[in-house]
């Protein structure tokens, strides 16, 4: 009874179940909407999703999502290991910079990469003196794969780095004392213990990739989301049927993932004074350094360079004077505050909301937790426009909720439902990591449930929870479609500024707002996530 599995009390205390039940209801908003909309035409639904015109894009979507998931997992895990467990130079800086590509909205990010790498782009111009005539075409599958991988590896990097930074060193020390090489230690000791965290990130990359529209649209790659977009106004039944299909696909993947990943959540998160740090010898050190520099360059420096180039070009062409530039920057103050406020609120709320589900799923055997898991993750796979319209539908049709419409609390709630999945798995890893003997000790000392949560669990879970909050934060800061629909009147975010500038081909304004977004996310990531997840050295 007192050991491992026996501790999973069968259904959980009623308070926890009630909380988790409310969370399920909240996260069912988009699915409920899609079911209601599709219910009247059930046979149309089946016909639509099985039609060849829909199956081909589904196949393309899956192909891209799987490829991006693999590549992003390798990059994210590798970067996390190098920056947390080795003595590569500049570790602290890299840990702030590496998550930032997550904040670049895909509609501007893909455009940036086109400007840089497409035929006739900046790279080609730079290589021209070297005799390079024409670069390979940069679009379709490979273009999408390249851009999405660079913008999604932080989903793996953040949880993996948080996990690696506090992995107990005892096992690794034993392995090395027994003469196991560092390479083997990584594969046999470090990786298995980080599997849960890495897998959580991979799942997010997969879901992001199947639901992305901005990159595939600009890269001209035919996915399910492009069909959903193209049919949204004049072929509603197709658009709604394919949206539901996307959501159900995500649910299926989650069920599968839970089945495969069973047991990987159990982990010991006791903090060590410092995690084992490998000192890289010989050529390994410059190699590791070069790898990190290459990744940061491709994913962050190149976009920033193109954005700066756009700004300078605008200044030189005289579409904007230096004085106007300053005014434009000052005008960004409101959007900067709005973006930070809404994103912080969404990040904290998302973590708080998924925590009961995390407790229920880790500590108890509960079907409720399984269901919660599925709807929460499903919300991330749905296009932002669909999530937003589902909120419009329910808030305006449910009596007495109308006053919430297009208010900030509702917008934040929509962010939570859309991005809650991003903090769920890290929350589960966090709960699983609370050593039961510590809890038992607190209990035997007479601490009640709340006191144990506040004084014991939360401090222990802090790094993992913060890494989850950090991901929600960055995703929310760049969110556009739901924001355009649900934001209070006059509420402007940086993503909205960037979008409206690109609508008018005013690259200089788009680049200023984008640079501001990257800067702001860097600051917030540092202030709220990095400082909290770094073991003091």
């Amino acid at each position: 009874m007192a050991f491992s599995r026996g501790r999973r009390e069968v259904s959980g205390p009623w308070g926890l179940r009630l909380a988790a039940g409310s969370v399920v209801a909240l996260f069912s908003i988009p699915f409920g909407y899609l079911l209601v909309q599709n219910a009247s035409e059930a046979d149309t639904f089946w016909r639509t999703i099985s039609a060849p015109e829909a199956l081909a894009p589904l196949g393309w979507s899956l192909l891209l999502a799987v490829a991006v998931s693999i590549a992003a997992t390798v990059l994210g895990t590798g970067a996390a290991w190098i920056t947390t467990r080795t003595d590569v130079p500049g570790r602290r800086l890299w840990r702030i910079l590496l998550p930032l590509p997550l904040v670049i909205p895909s509609f501007i990010g893909a455009f940036v990469f086109l400007t840089a790498f497409a035929p006739g782009g900046l790279l080609e111009t730079m290589l021209a003196p070297l005799g390079v005539e024409r670069l390979r075409p940069f679009h379709g599958f490979w273009g999408s794969f390249f851009v999405l991988t660079l913008f999604t590896y932080p989903y793996v990097f953040l949880p993996a780095a948080a996990r690696l930074a506090q992995l107990p060193s005892s096992l690794e020390e034993s392995a090395r004392l027994l003469g196991t090489s560092s390479y083997k230690t990584f594969w046999r000791v470090v990786l298995p213990q980080s599997r849960g965290a890495i897998g959580a990130g991979t799942l997010l990359v997969f879901l992001y990739s199947i639901s992305d529209f901005g990159v595939v649209q600009l890269m001209r790659y035919d996915t399910l989301t492009r069909v959903i977009y193209a049919t949204r106004l004049f072929d509603r039944s197709t658009s709604l049927a394919l949206s539901l299909q996307l959501g159900l696909l995500a649910v299926a993947v989650v069920v599968l993932e839970r089945f495969v990943a069973r047991g990987t959540l159990r982990a010991d998160l006791r903090r060590t004074q410092r995690p084992l740090q490998l000192s890289l010898r010989g050529l390994l050190k410059p190699a590791a350094f070069a790898a990190i520099v290459a990744l940061v360059t491709a994913a962050l420096i190149v976009p920033i360079a193109v954005l700066l180039w756009w700004s300078l070009r605008g200044l030189r062409a005289g579409t904007m004077t230096a004085g106007e530039l300053l005014t434009e920057m000052a005008d960004l103050t409101g959007p900067v505050l709005n973006t930070s406020g809404a994103a912080l609120a969404a990040a904290l709320a998302a973590v708080a909301v998924v925590l009961p589900v995390a407790y229920l799923s880790v500590r108890h055997r509960s079907h409720l937790a399984g269901g919660a898991n599925a709807v929460i993750v499903g919300g991330f796979a749905l296009p932002g426009l669909v999530v937003a319209l589902s909120f419009v539908f329910w808030v305006l049709s449910a009596p007495g909720l109308g006053f919430l419409y297009q208010t900030l609390p509702l917008l934040v709630l929509a962010y939570v439902v859309h991005f809650g999945a991003q903090s769920l798995r890290t929350a589960q890893v966090a709960v699983a990591g609370i050593p039961r003997n510590v809890e038992d000790a607190a209990r035997s000392l007479g601490a009640d449930r709340w006191r144990r949560l506040v004084r014991v669990d939360l401090p222990l879970m802090r790094p993992a929870l913060l890494s989850g909050a950090g991901i929600v934060l960055l995703s929310t800061m760049k969110e556009l479609p739901a924001t355009l629909i649900l934001a209070p009147a006059g509420f402007q975010t940086l993503a909205m500024k960037i979008w409206s500038a690109t609508q008018s081909a005013i690259f200089v304004n788009a680049s200023l707002a984008s640079l501001m977004l990257i800067l702001l996310s860097g600051f917030l990531t540092w202030a709220l996530v990095i400082r909290g997840t770094t073991v003091a050295r």
Partner: protein, 338 residues
């Protein structure tokens, strides 16, 4: 150590300041005129501000893609906060008109505008017009080689050379116009011909202009003003607009529109607003700032643009564009372009 006390203090301060700042604005009252605008903020934002101050009316503006906003208004139904809908093109307006969500613009306002650019049933009035053109790269294409009609672009000599934006509303309006003027068969064959020619498809007009400027594709079908905006920041770009001669359907004029919603409780203010948007000053503004064609007689086109009545654009009743759009998107998607 789990981060120092000062670390927590900083984090908490950042959160508190940002939350407070975000929660402060956003108060509105019932006397506010709410405008859903599919037109770009960069262009019409200043104009709307001017209206707010001169008419002493509170306004709330929601910007977005015209089609997304039409979907939103449809979802909101009778409880829509919107009083006025400004659209990039009549397509999205037609969708709302079919749902019976639009009121009639007063006769007096409609009369100011050429009848080609207003709805027969009075459900929308055109504010400005944009023209469909072929944008081309002067380093890759000789102007003399350009075709006399958009219909010739299916010729094998244009294989892979013409960029299209099949999901774009203006492209769809153009196909609807082609169906009206030339018939469904011609339109279908043209679309299939463009597919057979492996014409590259792009996300939107701007992506096409950018691709043409880089030389990735030598030409593309777009709205005329994108190239002006692009050239403003890239004076060296080799992109030029080509207008198909005569009354070719390839040089269609498309109106941006204003409509009053049936659910509005501020009809009077809404109509005052539409009147303002049609005023001489506003029309000059579209011409000067947006390089668009003004639609009232009182105002001339901007320098470098031919006057509207000199354009031999095809005679299409734009009113029919919206209603035919559903069939058009089906046709585009069946052709394999989408």
């Amino acid at each position: 150590m789990i981060g120092s006390a000062s670390g927590r203090g900083l984090g908490a301060t950042v959160i508190a300041v940002a939350l407070a700042a975000a929660l402060l604005p956003g108060c509105s009252n019932d006397a506010t005129l709410t405008i859903y605008s599919g037109r770009e903020e960069e262009l019409i934002g200043p104009l709307l501000e001017e209206f707010a101050s001169s008419a002493e009316t509170e306004i709330d503006i929601r910007y977005g893609d015209s089609a997304d906003l039409a979907l939103l208004i449809e979802s909101e139904g009778d409880s829509s906060p919107a009083d006025v809908f400004l659209s990039q093109s009549p397509g999205s307006v037609g969708f709302l008109d079919e749902q019976g969500l639009l009121a009639t613009v007063p006769e007096g306002l409609l009369e100011d505008v050429d009848e080609r650019f207003r709805a027969d049933d009075g459900r929308w009035v055109g504010l400005s017009a944009r023209q469909r053109v072929l944008v081309y790269n002067t380093e890759l294409v000789d102007e003399g080689e350009l075709p006399a009609s958009v219909l010739e672009l299916t010729d094998a000599s244009y294989r892979q050379k013409v960029g299209l934006a099949p999901t774009n509303g203006s492209f769809q309006d153009f196909v609807t116009a082609m169906r009206q003027i030339e018939g469904d068969d011609v339109a279908r064959r043209w679309l299939e011909g463009m597919v057979a020619n492996e014409s590259p498809t792009y996300a939107d007009n701007l992506s096409i202009v950018d691709a043409v400027a880089r030389g990735e594709v030598p030409m593309g079908l777009v709205n005329h003003y994108y190239n002006y905006g692009y050239l403003a920041e890239n004076p060296d770009a080799a992109t030029r607009n080509y207008i198909f001669p005569g009354s070719d359907v390839g040089s269609l004029l498309i109106a941006s529109t204003a409509s009053v919603l049936a659910s509005t409780d501020q009809e009077e203010e809404a109509e005052t607003f539409v009147e303002f948007m049609l005023s001489r000053d506003s029309e000059s503004y579209y011409a000067e700032e947006g390089f668009e064609y003004p639609l009232t007689d009182a105002v001339d086109a901007a320098d470098g643009l031919p006057p509207l009545d000199s354009l031999e654009a095809p005679d299409v009743d734009i009113d029919d564009l919206g209603e035919g759009l559903e069939a058009t998107t089906t046709m585009i998607s069946q052709s394999g372009l989408l």
